[in-house]
Structure formats: C-alpha cells, structure tokens
C-alpha cells in the first residue's frame, strides 16, 4: 500500500527532517509510527498525503509513484486517504452531520446516499445521536470520533492518523485505537503516528520507529522476512 524508497526530506534552511527512509506497509496491514516529537513522524505522514514533497527518493502509494503526481491531481489522490488530525480540524460553523458529509459532497455523491453513509459512519464511531449537534458542544473524545467518521465515510483504502490520542485520557485513547483496529479488520490499511508507547505495546500491531529523521526500528520488515 505504502512503499518508501530511500526517501529524504530536507526543509528550506537545511534541516533534514527525514533521511534515507525505506519501508513497506502491505495492503490491509496496520502499523504504528513512533518516535519523539521532532523525529519526523508528521513529516512522513505529510509526504504520503502530498502535503509535502520528498527532496529525494520515491514514494509509491497503491502502486502510484507520488513524484509523478501533478499538483492538479493531488485532490484525487487524497480522496483515497482518510486523514485524522490531533486537533480534529473540524469545521465549527456547521453540524456534525455536515462535517462528516464533506468528503462525500466533494466527491459528488447523491443526496440520499450522503445521508445513508454519514449515518453509517457516525454509527461506527458511536455518535449516531449527535448528528445535529455543533462540534463545539462535544467533548474532546467525541470531536476526535467525528474526525474519524469524516475520515472513513468515503471508505478510503488507507487511513492516516497523526497523534489521534494526543489530547485524550488513557481510557479514551484505548477506545480510539481499538476503533482503528476494527477498521483494519475490514481491510483498510492503517498507519498511526503516536508517541504513546505503552498503549501501542498493548495494541500489538507492528511498529516503525523514527529517531532524528532516521528509521531505527521496523517490525514490518521482520513480518515480511517471516512471510518470505
């Protein structure tokens, strides 16, 4: 699903955020991306979502080389990814329903279909009774779940999450992580950046670790070796 090939990312000013990263997340797999803040986790996710472009190396997403994707085609790549942010990035001037419906509206779904899918997504995150609420009236954990519903409503084949549990207490964090595991069970590839090592250990999925922009640990590689 995701393949990094000797990827470097150097920001203007010379700071090298990622150096020589190579890994492969197979389709339908779930993995955690860990490391201290500043290790390059967010940069790595941004490269996949085409928010940033690599300085060197190639990234293949579902067989597509992202280096060859023109700016005008970037939106269509993103429609196949569900992205979840630490600070939710919800639109506070509209209801929960309208927030979740946004990806479907962008993709041009029929009105009736939008309603059906939004309710299905809200049901999966347990917020079906909140569809008419304004996001601001919800708790932090509920807002994060609205963000997750928005990320999965258009059934993307890949979910990216950047510190999705950053602001939540341990119990809520665990619930959120279990939610991701459930999506993974129905075939969605998932990559979650988190520094919550204790929680990650409990979840038991492969881990990729970054430190100062370098890959220092890759469970996925071992998985691949075992499978080979």
């Amino acid at each position: 699903m995701i393949r990094f090939d000797n990827v470097n990312k150097r920001y203007p000013g010379g700071h090298e955020a990622l150096s020589n990263i190579s890994f492969h997340l197979p389709r339908g797999k779930m993995a955690y991306l860990t490391g201290h803040s500043g290790a390059g986790k967010s940069t790595l996710l941004k490269l996949i979502a085409l928010i940033e472009r690599p300085s060197r190396g190639n990234i293949l997403l579902d067989g597509v080389n992202l280096s060859n994707v023109r700016n005008s085609k970037v939106p269509y790549i993103r429609r196949n990814i569900g992205i979840i942010f630490q600070n939710h990035h919800l639109l506070y001037d509209r209801t929960v329903f309208d927030n979740v419906a946004l990806p479907l509206v962008i993709a041009g779904y029929q009105h009736r279909e939008v309603g059906k899918r939004v309710r299905a997504a809200l049901d999966q995150v347990g917020l079906l009774n909140k569809e008419k609420c304004a996001p601001i009236t919800l708790s932090g954990g509920e807002q994060q779940r609205v963000g997750i519903a928005r990320a999965i409503v258009h059934k993307p084949s890949l979910l990216l999450a950047d510190e999705p549990t950053g602001n939540l207490d341990p119990e809520l964090s665990r619930e959120i992580m279990e939610l991701f595991a459930r999506f993974n069970q129905v075939g969605v590839s998932v990559l979650i950046a988190s520094h919550d090592l204790d929680l990650i250990k409990q979840m038991g999925s492969p881990v990729i670790s970054l430190s100062q922009g370098m890959l220092i640990h890759d469970d996925l590689k071992e998985v691949a070796d075992v499978e080979a």
């Binding site: 928010i51 790549i77 993103r78 992205i83 919800l90 639109l91 962008i106 029929q110 059934k155």
Partner: protein
C-alpha cells in the same frame, strides 16, 4: 464479456449531473452565507449600488438632455446686419431676392426703428439712446436657412454667399450655440465614460476586497477541505458565486436608486417644462438598459471575486 458488477459501486451522480447539482447547491448556499451576515452584506451591496448608480444616473440625465436639444438646430438663424446706408426699400428688395435662394426657407425684415424700440425696451438704456438723436442701428434681415443635419457644409456655403453681398455688413449664424451645446454634451458623454470606468474599477476592488476578507476568515476551512481532497475549482466556486450575488444585488439596488431619483426629480422637471410650454418628461432607464446595468454589475462581481480568489486561494495550502 461479463457485465461489471455495479451493485457495490458507490451511488454517485453521473459526472455532469453531479456538476450541475453541486453548482446549484453552491449558488444557494453562498446566498445563504450572505444572509447570515446581513449588515456587512448590505453595506457591500450598497457601496456597489452607489458606485454603479452614479454613472448610470448621469447617463440617464444626459440622454434626457439630448432629447431636449433634439430639434433645436432647426431654430438656427442667420442674422444679416445690413450696412447703415442701405435704405428700407433696398432692404425689402434684397429680402425678396433672398427668398428665391435655394438654401433659404424664409426671410424676415427687422426694421431699424423696430429694433431700436425693442432695444430701448429691453436694455433699459432708453434715455441714453434717445439723446443720440438718430437711430444708430441698421436694418436686419433674419434669414431662416434650410437645415440639413447631414450637410452642415451647406450652411457654411450659404454664409459665404451672404457675406459677399454688397449690402451686408455682418452675417452672423446663430447655430454656434447649438454646436457648443452639442460639444458640451459630447464632453459630458466622454466624462461619463471616464467616471464609469473608474467606478467599475472601484466595484471590482470592493468585491475583490470583500472576497479576500472572506477567504482569510475561512482559511482553516479551506485548508481542511483541501486535505479532504477538494479541488481548487470546488473551493473557488462558493467565492465566485458570492461575488456574483454581490454584483446582482448591487445592480438591482442601483436600478432602484436611479428610479427613485428620477421619481423625485420628475415632478419639478415637468413643472419647469410646462413653464416653457414643453411636454418634456424625464425618462428613466429603459428596461433593456436596466438589464444591461444589472448584467454588467454581475459581471463585475464575478470578475472581482475571480481576481481575489486567483490571488489568494493558491497561497492557502495545508501544512
């Protein structure tokens, strides 16, 4: 070939239908956004309307002025001041001779005594003139030429002929003031063009600036929608429609403003016209002119938002 299984495909609209449905929805939604902040929308609309009503109103006044002046060139008159030694009899002979000229409609003799009497009456120098003893004024022939607006040179030719007559001292064409009026109207017309262009630019800037603020206020929304996979066209659309609505409402309001102003002026103008025994009436914008005004206004709104969106939307990228 087996038929592809469509049962599990998402029920999207056909691209073209989806396109139009989305456009219609965005059109309505952007109108809703304007109504949600009525005060600021109304102010923007009013600024646009006033900026448009000003040149359009001047245009209306000018076309009314042209209506009034039509037909005035028929009143062109040539005054032939005869030499002082020309007697009344000679003047009458000359008058009958001139009546036979091709380019002359009628000739009227103004006797010098008659002219003096009128001058005394009008000027207020009655006593002073009486003390002169003899009448210093010459006989005057008032010549009414045949006016052909297509051939102004004909009159010039006639003037030349009349000047060459040995009895004539001065030939004066009273067409001059009509020409002056026309050239003044011409200047006014050009002035209106200049004002229109300047104010059209003002409308562009007003709409552009409003949309720019709108874009800045919705910066985070734009970032999020871009992250979710919205194309630039998708994000641009509501702003363009907002500009369109501003243009439309501004144009309509401008029309209303002009009609109101005409309504206020019409009574007084009619009074004035009746004092001149004229049936002149102030006319407002014709329907087609009003439609062009509104259409032009919509165009300005779209263009203004297009410029703002083009300049500011690309700067906003998620980070």
């Amino acid at each position: 070939m087996s038929k592809p299984d469509t049962s599990n495909k998402p029920a999207r609209n056909a691209p073209v239908t989806a396109y139009f449905i989305h456009h219609a929805r965005t059109l309505i939604a952007s109108l809703g956004v304007l109504f949600r902040s009525p005060a600021s929308s109304a102010m923007t609309t009013a600024v646009i309307a006033i900026a448009l009503a000003l040149p359009a109103g001047l245009y209306v006044l000018l076309s009314n002025a042209s209506h009034v002046s039509v037909g005035w060139d028929n009143s062109a008159q040539i005054s032939l001041f005869l030499k002082a030694n020309v007697s009344e009899k000679q003047a009458r002979t000359l008058a009958s001779k001139l009546r036979l000229y091709d380019g002359i409609d009628s000739v009227k003799l103004i006797h010098k005594d008659q002219a003096l009497a009128e001058f005394q009456r009008v000027s207020g120098f009655g006593d002073a003139i009486e003390s002169l003893g003899s009448n210093p004024l010459p006989h005057v022939l008032a010549v009414q030429p045949v006016v052909d607006p297509e051939r102004p040179d004909k009159i010039a030719h006639l003037m030349k002929q009349l000047r060459e007559l040995k009895q004539v001292d001065i030939a004066q064409l009273d067409l001059q003031w009509v020409k002056r009026l026309y050239s003044m109207l011409e200047i006014a017309r050009k002035g209106i063009w200049v004002i229109s262009i300047l104010l059209a630019m003002a409308v562009l800037l007003v709409v552009g600036n409003t949309i720019r603020l709108d874009i800045q206020n919705r910066r985070s929304e734009i970032e999020v929608t871009k992250l979710i996979g919205a194309t630039n066209a998708f994000i641009r659309r509501p702003f363009l429609y907002t500009g369109f609505w501003y243009g439309l409402s501004g144009g309509i309001l401008a029309w209303i403003l002009i009609s109101l102003s005409i309504g206020i002026l019409a009574g007084s103008v009619e009074n004035l016209a009746s004092l001149y025994n004229s049936a002149f009436q102030l006319t407002g914008l014709a329907f087609s002119e009003a439609m062009s005004l509104i259409g032009f206004s919509c165009l300005l709104g779209l263009l203004g938002s297009w410029i703002a969106v083009g300049r500011h939307l690309d700067e906003i990228e998620p980070s």
